[in-house]
């Protein structure tokens, strides 16, 4: 129980008034950053990094500095859900899956319930991940080392497979959308050959299509266009505006315990590996849809459909800090910036950090507990405030959203071209909706396409073209088999149904 002792020491470090104030400031700032699409946790932390430089020179200052920065990160994780639910605009990549059920809930007038569910499950996911970090971090760190290119590819394959059966529409429309996503993901530099692809010598295309620009356009702008067409008002304006909604939602949440456990597990695994919060949220949503009793109704506004991605995203986002601390490999873009911060402060992330800078590490871990509690309190008390935004007349809020989206798109790369691109994606999103093409597969392929491609080609380089590498050891073999099983599950389940003599269309 040495961990408990160390953790208590950590709380002693983190509990000072100064650090608590930093947590509050960090979380509030993070929520704001998460709300603004495009700014993002990584940018937010990077901008504030120089401020912490002076702070880190004082004794114990490095701990305060990382508390401030990591709390911005927690805040951004919480905040990403807000615009997803209210306006169908994911503030962060990992909140895309939250829009699938969160936005329909808001349209039904249950924005408060959706927000509460999102925040609470975020908190639970983070808590599970922190407990994991506290007690079994050395084991986990060793586990992460077993992931080479084939293992990564099998994890991405699993994400795609878990998601593929989701779309309700025509399968060919799903495939068309997904292939468009892969094509967009291929634009720009190719890691494996170092060559430019599909850039047509246009400088603006050099950096490829950023996922955030596509998402802001497809979801945010597309939704505004639709709303304009359908009459200038929000459907969710009747949202309840008191704190009772929090308690009522809490009564409902224990029903989804299975989803919470599954999503936490998926999230922790993806954070540690490090696959990241975005695949975790998609995978967890896909699995919940497959396994839940109400799976068929996912996408129409189920609270469970908010619980699944949010729990996983937060669990992954939190556990992503573990490979950063123990291996020096960031599990997310924000963790990458934090890693840079550690080096600038003169700390060396890696296996010895836990031994040499125990104060710092345990202070950080303790701040994860406290920061998330502070974060939960901050966002929950603001639920009525956030929900009341929907009462502002559409004619006022729509231009504001447009401007915020444009600023967000610009901030991603400081490029005006991206703002135009966002508008193009907006029109595309509108057309997709009208023609009933699903957008989720496109987004998923755009965010994971190049990573999946890289790890596949790295595997092929290593095995010199032998596909057997995806079954070469029990770990990768299991993940690949699970992925294939999930991919073909609709066919398999139909076969089972036929074998039982029932109507094959049931599953």
């Amino acid at each position: 129980m040495q961990e408990i002792q160390s953790l208590m020491g950590g709380f002693a470090v983190a509990m000072s008034w100064f650090n608590l104030a930093l947590m509050l400031a960090g979380v509030s700032l993070g929520v704001l950053i998460g709300v603004l699409p495009g700014l993002g946790g990584a940018n937010g932390v990077a901008i504030l990094l120089p401020l912490t430089f002076t702070m880190s020179q004082q004794p114990g200052g490095a701990t305060s500095a990382i508390i401030l920065l990591s709390c911005i990160y927690w805040g951004a994780l919480f905040g990403g859900a807000i615009t997803s639910i209210l306006f169908n605009i994911p503030g962060e990549p990992w909140s895309v899956a939250t829009t699938f059920d969160g936005y329909p809930l808001a349209q039904k007038g249950r924005a408060g319930a959706a927000l509460t569910a999102a925040f609470t499950s975020s908190f639970i996911g983070a808590l599970v991940a922190v407990i994991l970090i506290t007690f079994i971090s050395p084991i986990i760190a060793r586990f992460a080392l077993r992931f080479g290119p084939p293992e990564f590819f099998s994890v991405y394959l699993l994400t795609f497979s878990a998601f593929v059966g989701m779309a309700k529409g025509a399968p060919f429309k799903t495939i068309a959308a997904m292939m468009t996503g892969f094509a967009l993901a291929a634009v720009g530099i190719d890691t494996v050959t170092g060559q430019l692809r599909l850039t047509f010598e246009i400088p603006a295309l050099l950096k490829g299509f950023d996922f955030l620009i596509a998402v802001i356009g497809l979801f945010g702008i597309g939704e505004i266009l639709l709303t304009i067409e359908e009459g200038l008002e929000f459907k969710g304006a009747k949202a309840k505006l008191n704190m009772r909604v929090v308690l009522e939602t809490w009564k409902e949440l224990p029903r989804y315990w299975k989803t919470s456990i599954r999503s936490s597990a998926v999230g922790c695994l993806m954070g540690i590996v490090p696959g990241g919060a975005t695949p975790a949220s998609f995978m967890s949503y896909g699995l919940a849809k497959r396994m839940s009793r109400d799976g068929e109704e996912f996408g129409t506004g189920k609270v469970e459909g908010v619980v699944a991605p949010e729990t996983a995203a937060h669990a992954a986002g939190t556990s992503a800090l573990l490979p950063m601390l123990t291996l020096g490999v960031p599990g997310s873009p924000t963790a990458a910036v934090l890693l840079g911060g550690l080096l600038i402060w003169g700390l060396q992330p890696g296996p010895l950090l836990f031994v040499e800078k125990a104060d710092f590490v345990w202070g950080l871990i303790a701040s994860m507990y406290l920061g998330n509690i502070v974060g939960l309190i901050v966002v929950l008390t603001c639920v009525p405030l956030f929900a009341s935004i929907l009462r502002i007349p559409f004619a006022i809020i729509a231009p504001v959203i447009l401007v915020i989206c444009a600023i967000g798109a610009y901030t991603v790369h400081n490029s005006m071209f991206d703002v135009w691109l966002m508008l193009v994606f907006g029109v595309l999103g509108y057309v997709f909706k009208k023609l009933d093409y699903p957008m989720a597969p496109l987004v998923l392929a755009l965010v994971l396409g190049d990573r999946a491609e890289d790890s596949f080609r790295q595997s092929m380089l290593g095995s010199q073209g032998d596909m057997g590498i995806f079954f070469a050891n029990p770990l990768v073999g299991t993940i690949t088999s699970a992925a294939l099983l999930l991919l073909f599950w609709p066919l398999i389940s139909r076969a089972i149904a036929i074998a039982r003599g029932r109507n094959g269309r049931g599953g």
């Binding site: 990584a42 990077a46 990094l49 120089p50 430089f53 002076t54 992460a144 080392l145 077993r146 992931f147 080479g148 290119p149 720009g188 530099i189 190719d190 890691t191 494996v192 050959t193 170092g194 060559q195 430019l196 850039t199 400088p203 050099l206 950096k207 490829g208 490979p323 291996l327 020096g328 490999v329 960031p330 873009p333 990458a336 910036v337 890693l339 840079g340 080096l343 600038i344 003169g346 060396q348 992330p349 890696g350 296996p351 010895l352 950090l353 790369h413 400081n414 890289d454 790295q458 380089l461 290593g462 010199q464």
Partner: protein, 335 residues
């Protein structure tokens, strides 16, 4: 003590006033926020250095205007270089370089060249070290190369950052020098490569010191040689009883290959000598701070730092060197 400090400050103030009264005609100073462009993503080596410079300037009040770090890493850095190329005459943009200053235009054919920019100064040179897993039986570079040869062409895997960039160039140079053949596997970042080496998914790497030092200290990796013509000067114990200085050069180890990476600063073309001088002096002040010196030692950098014509000549020579290496490796873009 206090009185003397006051007197000194007073004197400094008088001198400063005197100068400011006469100098506007000569000394240039930024009149708005300076953009510090990093032609790579957040979190990498160039980004860390840029953000450290920004922090030091802010902490010591070395500049009246603000400095912001902007990442423009698209197209292997082409995005950043094209922006500075397009900002002809703009003195409020500086850019930090990696070897992609040379390799990106050669490998991709994107039209830019260091001659489109104005060289300001070299900040340091980044070293490369040949690393293997601690369980690798090879204790020296020579033994390792023998192992690679014995295993057969392409059987041993060299992990590195990016494709047709510095890590792969070193690998090709090493192959040419020794006759051993690796399979080169490109990853997105240096930290990832170090971890993959610890997990034995690759057999060796040519990580920068700072990317692999944590795993070395934890006893997971073993350095075989440094790709420079002199040993690294740092004699403080880093891992066990080894210091950076104890790592032999690759030449000493019998696999004569050397390569260092430029960490230098450039401005847009068409800026005035006064403007260049301002940044040369500013960065000199940065180099004198204890924070910078500590960073140099932590990352075991080669602290060569030259300016002016000497620097431009160095860059021209480095370009020639890269051209030769890229051509031999068949990495040049097809025209």
């Amino acid at each position: 003590m206090t009185r003397r400090t006051t007197a000194k400050t007073l004197l400094a103030a008088v001198v400063a006033t005197a100068f400011s009264a006469f100098t506007p005609a000569f000394a240039w100073e930024p009149t708005k926020t300076v953009e510090f462009i990093v032609p790579a993503g957040t979190g990498g080596g160039a980004d860390q250095m840029a953000r450290l410079v920004q922090s030091i300037i802010a902490k010591h009040n070395l500049m009246k205007q603000n400095m912001v770090v902007v990442n423009k890493g698209g197209g292997a850095g082409a995005e950043g270089f094209l922006e500075v190329k397009g900002a002809k005459g703009d003195p409020h943009k500086i850019i930090i370089t990696l070897s992609n200053l040379f390799t990106t235009p050669m490998a991709t054919g994107v039209p830019f060249n260091w001659k489109d920019l104005t060289p300001v100064r070299m900040l340091a040179l980044d070293q490369f070290v040949l690393w293997v897993n601690k369980e690798n039986p090879a204790k020296t570079a020579k033994e390792y190369i023998e192992l690679v040869k014995k295993a057969g062409d392409g059987k041993m895997k060299m992990g590195g950052t990016g494709s047709k960039q510095e890590d792969q160039i070193i690998t090709v140079a090493l192959q040419k020098q020794t006759g051993a053949k690796f399979t080169y596997i490109p990853y997105k970042g240096g930290g990832e490569v170090a971890t993959q080496l610890v997990g034995k998914h690759v057999d060796s790497s040519v990580n920068n010191p700072i990317e692999a030092v944590a795993q070395w200290r934890a006893g997971n990796l073993r350095p075989l040689c440094v790709f420079d013509n002199e040993r690294m000067p740092y004699k403080n114990k880093v891992a066990g009883d080894m210091s950076w200085n104890d790592i032999p050069t690759c030449k000493e180890a019998g696999v004569d290959t050397d390569y260092v990476m430029l960490r230098g600063i450039f401005m847009a073309g068409g800026v005035s000598p006064d403007q260049v001088k301002y940044y040369v002096d500013l960065l000199e002040k940065v180099r004198q701070t204890p924070e910078w010196k500590k960073f140099m030692e932590d990352g075991a950098f080669n602290q060569t730092a030259i300016t002016g014509k000497e620097y431009a000549d160095w860059v021209a020579k480095a370009e020639k060197l890269h051209e030769g290496l890229m051509q031999e490796a068949g990495f040049m873009a097809k025209k």
